[in-house]
C-alpha cells in the first residue's frame, strides 16, 4: 500500500457547527444530528441522496437506517475525541480507492439541556437518539435476539417462495457432513433431515438444528501487500474483490424479508474480482441459521431468487457436491462464538492453500467469504484467489 496514493484524492467540501450563548440547543439526539448533516450537505450543494458513505462514533448502521440510505462504505470506529479525525482518514482512503464518493461525519451531544429532560431526551450517558429504535420498537415485543428475526425471514420466505422445512434442514445435514471431516468441530456425528425436524422448535419455523452453536472460538489473520506477500512463508491468498452493504439494522426495517443486501455486496465484490458465481470453487457463507445460508445462495447469484430450497435439495453444498459450502462445518456444526465471520476467512484461506486434509476441495482456486452482520443487516463479501487466479 502506498500512503501517497491518498494525496489529492479526497477533500472536505461542506461544514457546519452549532452552539449558543445560553449553552443550550433546541434539538437533541438524532434530530440534532440530522439537522447538522442536512446543513453541511447544503453547504456543499449536495443532498442526503448523494451520500454513499457513513461514519459515526457509535453506530453508522443506526444512523444510515434513520436517514433511509444504503451506504457502501460504513465506519463506526470509535477512538474517543479523535474519532472524527480517524473518520476523515478512513473516508479519504475509501474515496481514493473508489469504494464510495460522498461520506458524511457527524457529532451531536447536549449534556446541558439534557438536565431539563427527565424523560424523552437523549439523556446523559445515553446514545444519540435515546436508547435506540431497537429498544423502542422491537424489544418490548419479546422477539428473541437474534433467533426471532431469522424466524420472521424464514417464515416469509416459505410463504413467498414455497421453501420447505425439509429444504432448510438439508443445509444443516450437508454442513454436518463437512463437520464430520473436521476433528475440531463441536458436532461431528451425521444427522438426517428427520433429526432436524424432530429437534425442538425454537421460533417457528426454525428448529434447534436450524440454529448455530454457542461455543468458544478465536481466530486472526495478517494481510500485507501483494509484493511483500511473495516473499513470505505461505502461498499468498489474494483479495480479488470486496463489497459491503447494509440496508437496515433492526429486522423490522428490513426492506424485503426474502432478500438481503448481499445482492449489492456480492455484485460489487464479484464485479471487482471479475468472477461469476460459476467460477467459485468454494463458498464460505455465514450460517447463523439455515435460512441465512439459503439467502446467501440466492442473493449472491448461485441460484435464482426463491430457488434456494430446490437448489440445496440434492446435497450439492456438501462433500462431493458442485458447490462446497462451509467446509469447516460452519456455524451450525463447527463453532459459533457470536461473531463468526473470522472463521469464513480462515477456512477459505486454508482451502486455497490446500491445507484442509480430508475435507480439502480439490483444485480450489477461488473462494468467497460472505459475512452477515446483526440480523441479515450488513453483508460483506470477499472474493479470494490463489496466484493462479490472478
Amino acid at each position: 500500500m502506498q500512503v501517497s496514493g491518498l494525496r489529492g484524492k479526497a477533500a472536505i467540501v461542506g461544514v457546519v457547527d452549532a452552539a449558543s450563548p445560553t449553552g443550550e440547543l433546541e434539538l437533541t439526539g438524532r434530530a440534532l444530528e440530522v439537522d447538522m448533516i442536512s446543513k453541511a450537505l447544503d453547504d456543499a450543494g449536495l443532498t442526503i441522496a448523494d451520500v454513499d458513505g457513513v461514519t459515526h462514533t457509535s453506530s453508522s448502521m443506526q444512523l444510515a437506517e434513520h436517514l433511509g440510505i444504503h451506504p457502501t462504505f460504513t465506519d463506526s470506529t470509535s477512538t474517543g475525541g479523535s474519532s472524527f479525525e480517524v473518520h476523515v482518514e478512513h473516508a479519504a482512503a475509501a474515496i481514493a480507492a473508489g469504494l464510495c464518493e460522498v461520506v458524511i461525519g457527524v457529532y451531536a451531544s447536549t449534556p446541558r439541556s439534557d438536565r431539563k429532560r427527565p424523560r424523552g431526551g437523549a439523556g446523559r450517558g445515553m446514545p444519540p437518539g435515546g436508547m435506540g429504535p431497537m429498544a423502542e420498537w422491537e424489544m418490548p415485543y419479546g422477539l428473541q435476539a437474534p433467533k426471532g428475526a431469522y424466524a420472521l425471514s424464514a417464515s416469509r420466505h416459505m410463504a413467498q417462495y414455497g421453501t420447505t422445512s425439509e429444504q432448510l434442514a438439508q443445509i444443516a445435514v450437508s454442513t454436518r457432513e463437512w463437520a464430520s471431516m473436521n476433528p475440531e468441530a463441536r458436532f461431528q456425528d451425521p444427522i438426517t433431515i428427520q433429526d432436524v425436524l424432530d429437534s425442538p422448535m425454537q421460533a417457528s419455523p426454525l428448529h434447534l438444528l436450524d440454529c448455530c452453536l454457542v461455543t468458544d472460538g478465536a481466530g486472526a489473520f495478517v494481510m500485507t501487500s501483494a509484493e511483500r506477500a511473495k516473499d513470505l512463508k505461505k502461498p499468498p491468498v489474494y483479495v480479488l474483490g470486496a463489497g459491503t452493504c447494509h440496508d437496515h439494522m433492526m429486522i423490522s426495517q428490513m426492506p424485503d424479508f426474502g432478500t438481503t443486501p448481499g445482492v449489492q455486496s456480492g455484485k460489487k465484490a464479484f464485479g471487482l474480482a471479475g468472477v461469476k458465481p460459476g467460477d467459485v470453487d468454494l463458498l464460505m457463507g455465514y450460517d447463523s441459521f439455515t435460512i441465512t445460508a439459503l439467502l446467501h445462495l440466492e442473493d449472491l447469484g448461485f441460484c435464482e431468487k426463491g430457488e434456494g430450497g430446490p437448489f440445496v435439495e440434492d446435497g450439492k453444498t456438501g462433500p462431493g457436491g458442485s458447490l462446497p459450502m462451509n467446509t469447516n462445518g460452519g456455524g451450525l456444526s463447527y463453532t459459533h462464538p457470536g461473531m463468526y465471520g473470522m472463521f469464513l476467512i480462515t477456512e477459505a484461506t486454508k482451502q486455497l492453500r490446500g491445507e484442509c486434509g480430508p475435507r480439502q476441495v480439490e483444485g480450489a482456486e477461488i473462494a468467497v467469504a460472505h459475512g452477515s452482520g446483526m440480523v441479515l443487516s450488513c453483508m460483506s463479501t470477499i472474493v479470494l484467489g490463489t496466484e493462479a487466479s490472478l
Binding site: 434539538l27 437533541t28 439526539g29 438524532r30 434530530a31 440530522v34 439537522d35 442536512s38 443532498t47 442526503i48 441522496a49 437506517e65 434513520h66 436517514l67 433511509g68 440510505i69 429532560r117 424523560r119 424523552g120 431526551g121 437523549a122 437518539g129 435515546g130 436508547m131 429504535p133 429498544a135 423502542e136 420498537w137 422491537e138 424489544m139 418490548p140 415485543y141 419479546g142 422477539l143 428473541q144 435476539a145 426471532g148 424466524a151 420472521l152 425471514s153 417464515s155 416469509r156 410463504a159 425442538p200 422448535m201 425454537q202 421460533a203 417457528s204 419455523p205 426454525l206 433492526m250 429486522i251 423490522s252 426495517q253 424479508f257
Partner: protein, 138 residues
C-alpha cells in the same frame, strides 16, 4: 389454546417519538407523513427516509393491517421467559408501513400470513401504553 398473558414493558420514548407514545397512552395510533413527498414514515423520526425532507407531520392511523410474516416463539427471553408460546409478527398497516408487534387475544396456532388485524393498547403502568395487534373480528 389460549395464549399466556404477555408482559407489557413500558416504552422508551425519545425526542423524536414522545408525541407518538403520549398519543398511545390516549388510545391513539399516530403515524407520521412527509409533507414534502407524502410518504408515510415508520418508525417515526425527524427526517423522511424517502426524500430526506424534515417537513413532517403526525396524523392518526387506522390501526388496521394484515400480517406480513410471523413467528411463534417457543422459548422466551428476559421478561418473556415464561410467556411462550406467543406470536411476534410484522404487520403491514393499511397506510403502508410494516411494523413489528405481537398478535394477541387469539390462539397462536391460528395466526396466518395475510390475516387481518387491528391495534389494541395495553396498560404499561405509570400512564404509558404499549400497542399490540389482534385478529379483526369478522
Amino acid at each position: 389454546m389460549t395464549a399466556n398473558p404477555l408482559p407489557v414493558p413500558a416504552p422508551s420514548p425519545n425526542f423524536d417519538t414522545q408525541e407518538f407514545w403520549d398519543a398511545a397512552a390516549q388510545g391513539k395510533f399516530l403515524l407520521k407523513r412527509c409533507d414534502s413527498c407524502g410518504v408515510i414514515i415508520w418508525y417515526p423520526r425527524f427526517v423522511c427516509p424517502d426524500c430526506h425532507s424534515t417537513d413532517t407531520s403526525w396524523f392518526e392511523g387506522s390501526g388496521k393491517g394484515t400480517i406480513y410474516t410471523y413467528t411463534i416463539v417457543r422459548k422466551g427471553q428476559g421478561p418473556y421467559k415464561d410467556a411462550a408460546p406467543f406470536v411476534v409478527a410484522y404487520v403491514e398497516l393499511e397506510e403502508g408501513p410494516r411494523i413489528l408487534t405481537n398478535i394477541v387475544e387469539c390462539d397462536p396456532e391460528s395466526v396466518s400470513i395475510g390475516q387481518a388485524v387491528e391495534v389494541v393498547f395495553q396498560d404499561a403502568g405509570d400512564g404509558a401504553a404499549l400497542y399490540r395487534f389482534r385478529p379483526t373480528e369478522t
